[in-house]
Structures are given as structure tokens and as C-alpha cells.
Amino acid sequence: MPVEKKYETPLLDQLETGEWPSFVKEIKAAAENNAMANDLLGLLEQSYREKIGHWKHGGIVGVMGYGGGVIGRYTDLPDKYPAISHFHTMRVNQPAGWFYTSEALRTLCDIWDAHGSGLTNMHGSTGDIIFLGTRTEELENVFSKLTAAGFDLGGSGSDVRTPSCCCGKARCEWACYDTMGLTYYITNRYQDELHRPAFPYKMKFKMSGCPNDCVASVARADISIIGTWRDEIQVNQEEVRNYAKSGLDITKEIAMLCPGKCIEWDGNEIQIDNSNCRHCMHCINLMPKALAPGKDRGAAILVGSKAPIVEGALLSSVLVPFIKLEEPYDDLEIWEVIENMWDIWCEEGKNRERIGEFIQRVGLGNFLDAIGLEPQPEMVAFPRDNPYVFYEEYFEEEEDQ
């Protein structure tokens, strides 16, 4: 149904020029037949004028039986912009690797045109399909149509957030394990934890197929699963020579930049001291036709990264230096480690304390004790440099018999 234009938007109009695709054009396109998108234009123009947002804190809204997947949102100017007095986001769990058919996309569009603002994010930061803005009474309608079409909601709040991954073996020669297969498995294994928040705070999984880490798992996931290998880099010397012939300076651009200083080039062949290779990917990135990760592939599992809130940003750190990740996934020992981590974190963690912060607070050594893992030198950048050691073992005088 066509909707009459309600607002002049002189400031937003200035974002329709320029060569980068314009989000304002997208909102205007939706506004032609959607009252919510139309009111959003008016509200956003007001924000641009006043330099302040006009959204209230979310309330608790959702679909029956779930505690996550819907972000409640209300404008603080409901009288002026009644169509967006409610403007809740629905997070729809994306297919692993973000592959779609045109038919699946049209199905999603049909649902959202019938029950929401006609605006989306493809995709949200965590990886979900974001349905941007609908009313409380529409949530169940959207949900029932989504599930009928084979889609489900993703996570929000203090739950397992929607796991996401790179395209892995679907279109990348560097995938050291099946990121999409494992992501699908994890998402299904933890459906209850994903839909019903029961943790101290959010818990994100991200699966990257190689150390290039295209989904930023080391920075953005509580559990970062990063593909790697532990044997020799595969080398095709003929192709190495071809790269050299085509102008690549192998000594300067590869050997000298190798962090393990383990590559030598004599003008004819490349020699790699694999025992000192740090698996950084630089040489492979530059010569994809000549070099490839080894054949003994798996992943390293790191834990604890997060953005600043509350106690400062963290990168994930190594928990498992190497693990084979092959089917059947049910049989992997890592689930016990992960579920042990959740047990101790749920037991001892503070409200809104991410697992990385929890580990910082109790100490990695104590955390390992609690989850039953042995300390390994790969877990630290360097051993402690302060002598304040909490020794737990000591000798006692034997008592006289």
C-alpha cells in the first residue's frame, strides 16, 4: 500500500549524493509503502538536527518460550512518530557462511514486508539477519512464518549468541576445518542456551578456517575457533619460481617479513624450517598457487575476547593449542571443556561479567584447575615476571614415629 510522504529531510537528503550506496535511499525506498519506515525518516532527520538519538531503553519483549532473539525498542517521541512507537529488532539466525538462494531471500522479504518495516541489516555485527523494526503484536506472526519457512531466531541478551563463521571449505582453499559444518552443529547443539538466556552475560562463538581470521574471532568471540595445521606447509617449487618471475621479491616481501624467520629463498627454491613456522599465513597469502597449509589440519581454540564494557577490551587467548575437528562432532572432547567452563562461570561469575573478564579476575591458572585442563606454555605470551607466587604445594616436617 503506498504511503504518503510525511517529512522533509533536508539533512538526510545530503546523504543521497556520493558514490557509496546510500542507506537513506534504502529507507526512502521502504517508506514508499511502509508507514514505519516513513516515520523512521522523520525521526532520523530530527536526530540529525538535534545531534541526539530518540530511542528508549528496550523493554522485555519476545516470542513465547524464548528469552532472546528480539530487542525491544520504543521511540521517546511516540506521539510525533506513532508508526514507530514500537520498533523492535528481530534477529534471525543466518545460514552458516551467509549463503542464500534468491528464493530464500524472497521468502524472508515477503515475511518482513507483511509484518515489519521492510528494513533489514544484511547482516548484524554478530552475523544474524536483522529485521529492523516491528510492533510487539507482530512478533509471533513473524516467528511462525519464519519457522514454517525453516528459519529460527538468533540470540540476544545473556545467552549463546548466534554462532557465525567464514565461508570455509565452501569457497576457500585455506580452510583447515569445516567451519560451516561445525557452526551448524554448535548452533543446533546449543539451541536451548541460545534461546533462553541463563548465563552471567553473552557468550559468542566464532569459527574461522585459518589464522587470517576473516570473522575476527580472536577479537569478538568468547570462544574463538581458529583453523591451523601442525605439519609442513605444502610447497610447489615450480609455482614459487613463477611468482618470482612475475615480480614478487620473495626474499624481501616474504622471507624478511616472516615472523619466525624460517624461510630462505636461493633464487630457485624456497626452504621452510617448519618447526619454527608460526602459522601466520603471510607467505601463503602472497603465493596461494604455490603454498598451502599442511595436511594435518585442525584448529586452535582461544577464549575470552570482548569489547571494552565492562573492564576493558580483551583478545582471546589460547586454551587448546591444537585439536582435530572432524566428524562425528558429537564425539569431540571439547564440548566437555566448554560446558565445564560454563559451569564454573555460571557458578562464580558476576552479573555482566564476560568469561574473559572472569578469567582475568580468578586467574588463568585457577580457571584451568576448575575446568580440568593442564597448563601449557602455548597458553601464555611469556611466563610470569613477578615473584608473588601462590604456592599450593610445600613440604612438611615428618612427624616422629
Partner: protein, 361 residues
């Protein structure tokens, strides 16, 4: 009993990705051997079976109308047997088996206003957050700055010849839904004034013990207001993180006069060469100046151009700065170094210079 409702489906999980993979990917899953970037935004992956898969990557504003998604679907039908995907940085990728379809598809995408590029040593689309379009805690808008910045940086999207790749991201407050803290350049919305206490509503809306515990600097103390429990804030201790506001809506921090943007540089996520790094503070404050935030776009462009001029091949911004040292970065960039640049949070001491490895030229 006969008119029972259909069973309500829950916890079905996402659709299986295999339903959406093109046949060429199903046939070559795990069999890809190597790839080449044919030109900006166009890749070809070679399989050990001899199959070739072409990818055309186009930029997107991330915020998409269903109308645009339907156009993407039509293009996928026209050129790719109905198959496409999206990337972790919000680009759209069309997956082609017919090489002759590449140029017509690019022409259609460019005509649609979606530039093709973002592969290899280039800038890719900006990961970003919701801003004033949808968020209650935004200190700035997200989509507007991204649009303005990418209009300026577009030539670097449509190239593959930069020293290294460059990843720019934007978060509209410190919650960092975009987790921008490991980006070559991070644009971060900031508040600069303590929360205002809505004393009337606070007891109705907030759990006071939770609220007090939420403050990382213990700046919130219990107090009384008209005989009811309330809180007071030691403003000298407030670092404007807004964590209190997240747990208590009665403590808004938004302040049009003082909210704005900070610029952080030198982070990376990939392990290539240097280990992953956090971005570091370059510019503590730039004003919110919609609709095009000229101060922000100029600052980002300035840093990118400085890097282009000075970096060695394969050096990302953080690697370049690590080689030349931060003092030289501030000199070259002509950015005044001030008190805000010196960390004063938990691990501040680790950031002090503890040697005389210094440059003076």
C-alpha cells in the same frame, strides 16, 4: 480435538547451509586449490577437479530495504542461477560459473549504485552499528558517518594496490556492538559527561545494588531522594562508559553538546606477520557534525593517505606505526599529543615507554 492448532515450531535452528549452496560449491566443497584476484572485486577460485568459481563482490550500506534485497535476488537469478552470499563485512557476493556473465553483472551493479571492489589490498566495507537509526545508547550516528567516509575512500575500495589491506570500523558507543577495537582505523562514538540522574523514576526502573555494582570505577554510591532509595555519582570518577545506563534507564548520558567521535588506529585481527593488535587512540574527540561529519571524514582520509605515503609494502597501519614509533606517527600526522592519549585504566603502566628506543627526526 480435531481442530488442533498446527504444532508450534521452536528451536529448529537455522536452515542447513547446504540447502543454499550452488551445485559447483557442493561438488567442490573442501577441494579448492588456490585463487586469484582478477581485478578489484573479482576473484576466481580453482578446484582440484578443474572447476572454476567466479566471485563478484559489491559494497552495500548494510541497511537494506527488502526492495533492494529483491533486486539482489533478481541479479542472482539473471547471472548466478539464483546463488549469492554476504561477507563478514556486509558486502554482497555473487557466485558465478560463467565467466562471460562477470562484466554484465558488474555493469548492472554499478548502475544500481553498488560499486564492485573490496578484495585484496584494499579497503572493504565498514563494519558498523545502528546509531541513531535504532539504538538507545548511541553517542553518534553510524550509517551517516560510514556513508560519508566511504564516499571519500571509494577509490581505495576499487583498487587492489594498497600496501596492505585496511579495515575501518565504526561503533556508536563504547559497548562496541561492532567490536571495532582491532581495526586499522576505528571510529568510536563517545560520551563526555556523566549520567543525569532521573531521581523520580530511578527507584521504579532500576535495581540499585546492580546499578552500583555496574560501575567499573565505583563512582556510584547509594543515597536517598525524598525518603526513597537513590544513588549519587562521584563525577570525578566517571569515565563515561555508560555501563550504568545499560543496567538502569534512569541514568541517560546523551548530551548533544558533548557527545562526539574518537579515532583509533593500528589494530588488526589477522595473524599475518604481526600478531593481532588493539587499535590505539589517535584523536580523542571530534564533534558530531551531521549529515556528513567533515572533521571525521577528513581525519580518516588524512590517516589513510599518510599511511599510503609512508608504509612499506605489506605493512598494515599498526605495523607501519610500530616500525616508525608512535611519536613519529603523531609528528607526521600533525595530531597534538595530549593527556587523553595516556592510559589511566587497569593496565596503564604497560603502555609507558620503558626504554630509550626513541626517534628524534
Amino acid at each position: 480435538m480435531s481442530d488442533a492448532q498446527p504444532k508450534r515450531l521452536t528451536d529448529i535452528g537455522p536452515p542447513h547451509y547446504q540447502k543454499f549452496l550452488p551445485p559447483i560449491i557442493k561438488e567442490n566443497y573442501g577441494k579448492w586449490k588456490y585463487h586469484e584476484i582478477l581485478k578489484p572485486g573479482v576473484m576466481v577460485h580453482y578446484s582440484e577437479t578443474g572447476a572454476k568459481l567466479f566471485t563478484v563482490r559489491a559494497g552495500s550500506p548494510r541497511l537494506l530495504s527488502t526492495k533492494k534485497i529483491r533486486i539482489y535476488a533478481d541479479l542472482a537469478d539473471k547471472y548466478c542461477d539464483g546463488h549469492l552470499r554476504f561477507t563478514s563485512r556486509h558486502n554482497v557476493e555473487f557466485l558465478l560459473t560463467k565467466e562471460e556473465n562477470i562484466e554484465p553483472l558488474i555493469a548492472d551493479l554499478e548502475a544500481l549504485g553498488h560499486p564492485v571492489g573490496g578484495t585484496g589490498n584494499a579497503i572493504s566495507s565498514l563494519v558498523h552499528t545502528q546509531g541513531w537509526i535504532h539504538c538507545h545508547s548511541a553517542a553518534t550516528d553510524a550509517s551517516g558517518i560510514v556513508k560519508a567516509v566511504m564516499d571519500e575512500l571509494l577509490p581505495y575500495f576499487k583498487t587492489i594496490d594498497l600496501p596492505a589491506k585496511i579495515r575501518v570500523a565504526l561503533a556508536c558507543c563504547l559497548n562496541m556492538c561492532g567490536a571495532v577495537h582491532c581495526s586499522d582505523i576505528a571510529i568510536l562514538g563517545i560520551h563526555r559527561r556523566p549520567p543525569r540522574i532521573d531521581k523520580e523514576n530511578l527507584p521504579k526502573m532500576c535495581e540499585i545494588p546492580n546499578l552500583i555494582a555496574s560501575c567499573p570505577t565505583a563512582a556510584i554510591r547509594p543515597s536517598q531522594y525524598q525518603g526513597k532509595p537513590s544513588v549519587e555519582i562521584d563525577e570525578d570518577k566517571c569515565m563515561f562508559c555508560a555501563n550504568c545506563y545499560t543496567v538502569c534507564p534512569a541514568l541517560p548520558l546523551n548530551n548533544p553538546l558533548n557527545d562526539g567521535v574518537s579515532i583509533w588506529v593500528g589494530g588488526k585481527v589477522s595473524n599475518a606477520r604481526h600478531e593481532p593488535m588493539f587499535s590505539k587512540l589517535a584523536i580523542p574527540f571530534l564533534p558530531n557534525n551531521p549529515p556528513r561529519w567533515p572533521e571525521v571524514t577528513n581525519a580518516v582520509k588524512h590517516i589513510v593517505e599518510l599511511w599510503l605515503k609512508n608504509a612499506k609494502k605489506h605493512e598494515r597501519i599498526g605495523e607501519w606505526i610500530e616500525r616508525i614509533g608512535w611519536p613519529k606517527f603523531f609528528r607526521l600526522a600533525d595530531i597534538p599529543f595530549q593527556k587523553e592519549h595516556i592510559d589511566d585504566f587497569k593496565h596503564a603502566g604497560l603502555s609507558y615507554k620503558r626504554s630509550v628506543h626513541l626517534t628524534y627526526m
